[in-house]
Amino acid sequence: MDLKALTQLLGEKVKTDPVTLTAFSTDATPEFKATPEAVVFAESRDDVVKLIQFANENKVPVITRGAGSNLAAATVPITGGIILVMTKLNRILEISKSEMLAVVEPAVTNVNLDNAAAEYGLMYPPDPGSKTVSTIGGNIATCAGGLRGLKYGVTRNYVLGLEVVLGTGEVINTGSRMVKDVAGYDITRLLVGSEGTLGVITKATVALRPRPTISKYGVAYFKTLADASVAVDAIVGAGILPATLEFLDQVCINAVEKFAAIGLDTSAGALLLFGEDGDSDDVEIKTQQMADICANPAGVISVTRAKNVVEADQLLFARRCALPALAREASLAVSEDICVPRPLLAETVAKIAEISKARQLKIGVFGHAGDGNLHPKVLADINDPAEVARLHAALDDIFNLALDMGGTITGEHGVGIAKLPYLERKVGKEQMYLFRRIKSAFDPNGILNPGKTGS
């Protein structure tokens, strides 16, 4: 690559010093590392256009990066090339109360958008565990879920329109500010979850919702995660679609308690966090119903209601910290993201426990139980090659289990590089071909995040 020409084009925004390159050689995915040839900090859409035109002419890979918090190695530059960093494009351009929408630059963090919406009595519902760091651009490109997915849906349900730079350098505007718009193919939806392989998002129009004024939470402890899963199925089976149904197994409870020290019952096998939000007495009724249902299944140890907002916030915070807190338990911790039909949740978690036993590895399981979305985190000693090999075998078992259950290899973290080997088994050969044809329509020279997802 002609780095001189690139620097002439974008000046100081281009960094090629080894220190900066090193800092962008990894994201939040363990075991993946590759050093880029250059890093570009975009400060405007025009910077992006210029860079993509340059890359397209010179056939250099461009890996777009938000906060780098993804767990699929989606921003690791395995093919070399340029990391396009969006973090300086972090302004909220507009919040329209009457239209209930926001227009944002791509690197606004999820939590900053939600806080800004709160000032208008609104909220941005998708709330991934990483909401304090992850960016809206990254959330859209991975179709991030979160702790409120069951009731509110995920990122794809909130994207109205996008400004996107294609692999050719052309700029398109998809969708609009309206909820209704069927003029042409739904390119917006196609870009959601496209992991930076189809275009670079430079602006997003997202829907907001009225901010609920009341929220109530409770916690139930069970002997096993399978017991908790039975309760989850019973709650939704009773016609309740709550804001939150999250669970943690004992490995996670212990790790979280070590960090947050909020008095969780570390002797229990599983913790189920349930909660509802809204504006009326209905919230209280639903929460109590859930507490009553939890009290019934076999294996229940205790059910308590959070006394106040502080206590509820602590519980949610604890849940959000499960993933990084598990890093305390081992020097290598790989987190997966399978999703299975909810009625099969209990069977699935029981089988994960079997995998843990068979592979002689600790596996911490937590997840968005209401969505059937599980994050088994496999733990190993990074300095013990035999253990690391068993870890990979266990991950393989877990993916196969998900597919056998009629589930999926990733619910919300994306395919990236990490799950690419399993993609074809999930979607079939024909769809893989279709993916490639779609890819070449957006990015004929294959410069956008090559070697990831469907490309």
């Binding site: 220190v19 090193t22 939040a28 305390r328």
Partner: protein, 352 residues
């Protein structure tokens, strides 16, 4: 462990690059660039550890980091960033990489007798104090710059003072002389047997990390035990309006931040400063070695302090007192700056 490795491998392995620490890091907030974030810096340390980068290449980031340890409090994985930074600077800030001003500063406090020259202090003896088992630590620069702080603390608690004591070595530990810093802390622990009270948050954290937390107490932590006995500080008959600036190492290293607040709530009209736990930019020698960056870090704080319309902004660390006073004066903001011990002394308080 391989003795030649600059970093303790176990500490480096802990970080999972989740990025939770990014929004808490003052230098990342300013630059929005990965290399000046905790995660980025740990990546650099890793590259040094395996020889991908030379230690010299990482010099700039090792010094741009404030060492405030805000990243530690928010890290769910329990990464001990403060220790990693000490190891980093001990490896990087050697030979030609050592700043001349820094050399002079460290030299000045290296020996007890030089520390004594920094300030003339009148040791006092209170015969019937309930704090007899404690001795007060005078600090090094605090002795010279703010002798009134220790004097006030001594008076508030009626506590004994032993004039023959050196520096705790925090300055050394944080500035590339980890081994010497630990040695000095040990020595001070011998000079002051039993329990030690300090009015400096930074020193408290360092000393505790070497001689054990059970022997080291920060002033507000101790005074908190008799908070009910404190009388208000009045200005024109009304309680003074105050806010607290946390000491980074006191808060992020020792998790002490509720006690000074409880004291201030008792004796004053206390308001919470937004970003009270964010570094003020003093950061030990930082304000001297990187004056421009230190000023930039303070910009946000200046606005926040001005907005609150305070009588006093209270600190729990002498370095912060100095930084707050200098930076507020430079911006012509009239809020007075005072160490918590001096402020408590204004309440013509207790003599329990």
């Amino acid at each position: 462990m391989n003795q030649n490795l600059p970093f303790t491998p176990k500490l480096l392995e802990r970080c999972i690059s989740c990025g939770y620490c990014l929004p808490a890091c003052p230098t990342y907030v300013i630059t929005q660039e990965e290399i000046s974030s905790p995660r980025g810096r740990i990546n650099l340390m890793r590259a040094v550890q395996i020889g991908e980068l030379s230690i010299d290449q990482t010099l700039e980031q090792s010094s741009y980091c404030l060492g405030c340890r805000a990243c530690e409090s928010v890290c769910p994985a329990g990464v001990e960033y403060g220790t990693l930074l000490e190891e980093w600077r001990s490896a990087a800030w050697q030979g030609k990489n050592r700043n001349l001003i820094l050399k002079l500063l460290l030299f000045a406090v290296n020996q007890s007798w030089r520390v004594r020259l920094l300030g003339i202090f009148n040791p006092r003896n209170f015969q019937k104090s309930k704090w007899n088992e404690y001795s007060i630590m005078l600090g090094c620069f605090e002795r010279g710059l703010f002798p009134n702080v220790s004097a006030a603390a001594q008076k508030n608690l009626s506590i004994n003072v032993n004039g023959n004591q050196g520096c705790c070595g925090a300055l050394h530990a944080h500035n590339g002389e980890l081994a010497r810093g630990k040695e000095m802390a040990k020595k001070l622990g011998e000079q002051l047997p039993g329990k030690i009270i300090t009015t400096s948050g930074g020193c408290a954290a360092h000393l505790a990390s070497v001689i054990g937390k059970d022997r080291v107490f920060e002033y507000s932590e101790v005074l908190f035990n008799q908070v009910d006995l404190l009388k208000p500080v009045l200005i024109n008959g009304e309680k003074a309006r105050v806010a607290l600036q946390d000491s980074c190492h006191l808060r992020h290293g020792l998790q002490i931040y509720q006690q000074p607040r409880a004291i201030l709530k008792q004796i004053a009209d206390f308001v919470e400063l937004p970003g009270a736990s964010d570094c003020c930019g003093a950061a030990g020698t930082y304000a001297i070695l990187r004056a421009r960056d230190s000023k930039k870090v303070f910009d946000k704080k200046a606005k926040e302090i001005e907005k609150l319309n305070l009588d006093f902004i209270i600190s729990v660390n002498p370095g912060c007192t100095r930084q707050l006073a200098t930076q507020l004066k430079r911006r012509k903001i009239k809020t007075k700056v005072m160490h918590i011990a001096e402020f408590v002394a204004l309440s013509n308080s207790i003599n329990a």
